[in-house]
Point group: C2
Chain length 386, copies 2
């Protein structure tokens, strides 16, 4: 373990503190992180000189003594851009250093590898121009639906059909800013930790649904990647013995019961009228289509069973559900709760809160912002979250 790592670690912890609790004092940072006051002072100075952190006078406290300085992330100091590459679209969001999104857009994408670097290069330039904010682009985070190595190589992205692409190098050439790449599910979980419902929760399990079901294990304050980077692919937890076939080739996975295509197919099979989008599904449910409500209830039961297993294994304080399923909360939650009641270890489930997070629908593409922010704060070279 190197010496610079500990500075990096402490810098990250302090930045995180300031971001989640604007206007903290150095004294409180010391109290909450346990880092020595000299070290906090020194790191704050460094951030301050770089213009990343501002010192604000704080309203009088009616207490004797030197008043504290409120510390905030300086919003003017630079931009972070998040890019999310999916099968048919590429999403962009520009955000200030505090993670607050300034503007976002999405463009159609044919999924072709050829020319994607230039495409993203132009897209990033445009979104930066569009938000009309001065300041350097401090980092670009790219969220990808596939498995990445520590060295920034995309090993395999099934929905894109890409294999063995050195994404960090490729996008770095086109981008003129530090590039940070990562798996979409893990990036989304980081976004929940940094900006969302899981803010500052050191241990939680994240699940999201969309065209598939993904997830991440957030353990001891960091994403757990596992020996081969596949850990946390929670869409493939087995939930129904000899159940539906999954695109992965196995049967009984969670994914075909909860993903948009899986739900649509089941509804189509039962009604002869296949929904065209998740929004379509929700509209039918809101119109009290009993078949749709029933399919969603069943999905909730299956989801609840998967969550029960996770609760019994991790005893997490929080399970966070994001993506499409967050908007289906009214239809899913009852079944999820029933399953938890029935299947999870009582002494464990009492400690676990299950929440539906709208973060990814309200502010899409923040996964990339989380990736980049995590990298930028440590003041070191581009790296990867596989």
């Amino acid at each position: 373990m190197s010496k610079s790592y500990i500075r990096h670690f402490n810098a990250n912890a302090i930045f995180h503190r300031i971001r989640i609790e604007p206007n903290v004092s150095q004294r409180d940072i010391v109290a909450r992180t346990g880092i020595d006051k000299s070290v906090v002072s020194s790191i704050i100075n460094q951030f301050s000189e770089l213009g990343l952190v501002e010192r604000n006078p704080v309203a009088t406290s009616n207490k004797p003594g030197r008043p504290m300085e409120g510390l905030t992330i300086s919003p003017e100091s630079g931009l972070i851009v998040g890019v999310q590459i999916e099968a048919d679209t590429i999403g962009y969001v520009a955000a200030a250093l505090d993670g607050i999104p300034l503007c976002s857009r999405a463009q159609a994408f044919d999924g072709k590898l050829d020319g994607v670097a230039d495409l993203v290069g132009r897209g990033v330039k445009e979104i930066v121009g569009e938000c009309g904010r001065a300041g350097d682009t401090l980092g670009v985070g790219i969220s990808l639906p596939g498995l990445l190595t520590d060295e920034g190589m995309l090993l395999h992205a099934p929905v894109l059909g890409w294999r063995g692409v050195p994404v960090v190098d490729m996008f770095s050439e086109a981008l003129d800013a530090p590039v940070f790449a990562g798996n979409d599910g893990k990036a989304a979980a980081m976004a929940e930790y940094m900006f969302g419902e899981c803010i500052d929760i050191k241990d939680f399990i994240y699940l999201f649904s969309g065209s598939g079901v993904g997830g991440a294990l957030f353990l001891d304050g960091d994403i757990y990647r596992g020996a081969s980077g596949l850990a946390g692919e929670l869409g493939h937890i087995k939930v129904v013995p000899q159940g539906r076939y999954c695109s992965c080739g196995a049967s009984g996975c969670l994914s075909p019961y909860l993903s948009e295509p899986g739900l649509a197919e089941e509804i189509g099979r039962l009604t002869g009228n296949r929904p065209t989008s998740f929004k379509d599904i929700m509209e039918r449910a809101d119109a009290k289509d009993e078949v749709v409500v029933g399919v969603l209830d069943n999905a909730g039961a299956v989801l609840g069973s998967a969550i029960s297993s996770l609760v019994n294994i991790f005893n997490p304080p929080l399970v966070c559900l994001g993506g499409d399923m967050a908007s289906a909360e009214p239809y899913l939650r009852p079944a999820v709760e029933r399953a938890l009641q029935r299947l999870a270890h009582p002494s464990m489930s009492v400690q676990t809160k299950v929440i539906f997070s709208q973060l990814s629908t309200v502010s899409p593409f923040l996964g990339g912002v989380a990736l980049a922010l995590d990298g930028v704060t440590g003041l070191d070279s581009p790296h990867v979250l596989p």
Copy 2:
């Protein structure tokens, strides 16, 4: 993050290297750990001065240049004692610093909290005398069937009926050596990592059976304890919807299908002749008692289902099965393999090896040794593995 932590971390890594690969050179330690050569040299010197590590001349290599020095853990340098407290017995083992057990014994125990510190104090003194080896007792590790806090407080041990016992303080008073306490399942997993089948494997899932079923998650080179220390209680994974009742109050847990009492009860129910011990069960199985073989096969299927879930969640390179069930490998493995084939994600299960480890039956009570060794190596004060 403190400065001393990084020395501790590096010291531990280097010691571990020497233990698992006796006669390594400093050069190879540098190559394998990435720690700088100066640092390795400095830490080796420190270990050498303390008498913990020896430098051995190595047989000529027929290569030019200064020959390497082989480094080994000095077995004479001191003793580690492992203590394992169970419902009806207390086990002791004395081991050299390299973890090799010198002698062990067990004594009957009435489970009463009163006087247990003195009892263990005498027991440790006796085992140290018995093994007839000079040298200080460098550490005593105590493995307990319950949940512990970071501060060395045993919160709750159901099988002992103990609650809120400050075990580290209590045993420290009676023991005249640094005391390290920890949960039995987690300690056993550490023993597998340090001395057993999982040696040097940074990510694995550990399951063991005995009077109950426990386990541990070994992730990124360390036990994952979770927010409340309950993580890894794998005996309570739900495997059979509306299944057998578990002592924890829930139903469908793994534990009643795989633990000795669970198996005995089922065999007793089917044959009218309840086995009195796990050995008894094994003898009947070896005598081709078809009911017993069938019950074990069913246990294997249930176990396989639990392992499948774990594989899909963690994608671990290794799943290690210990305790009683290790001796039942011939009767369990076929069903486990069948379940894995059927339930686990194919692209994940191909990366996972499932092994049965005899470590805890061949050399019992090593969990405590692992606890103590882990603490002693870092050269710091007594602590706890909750």
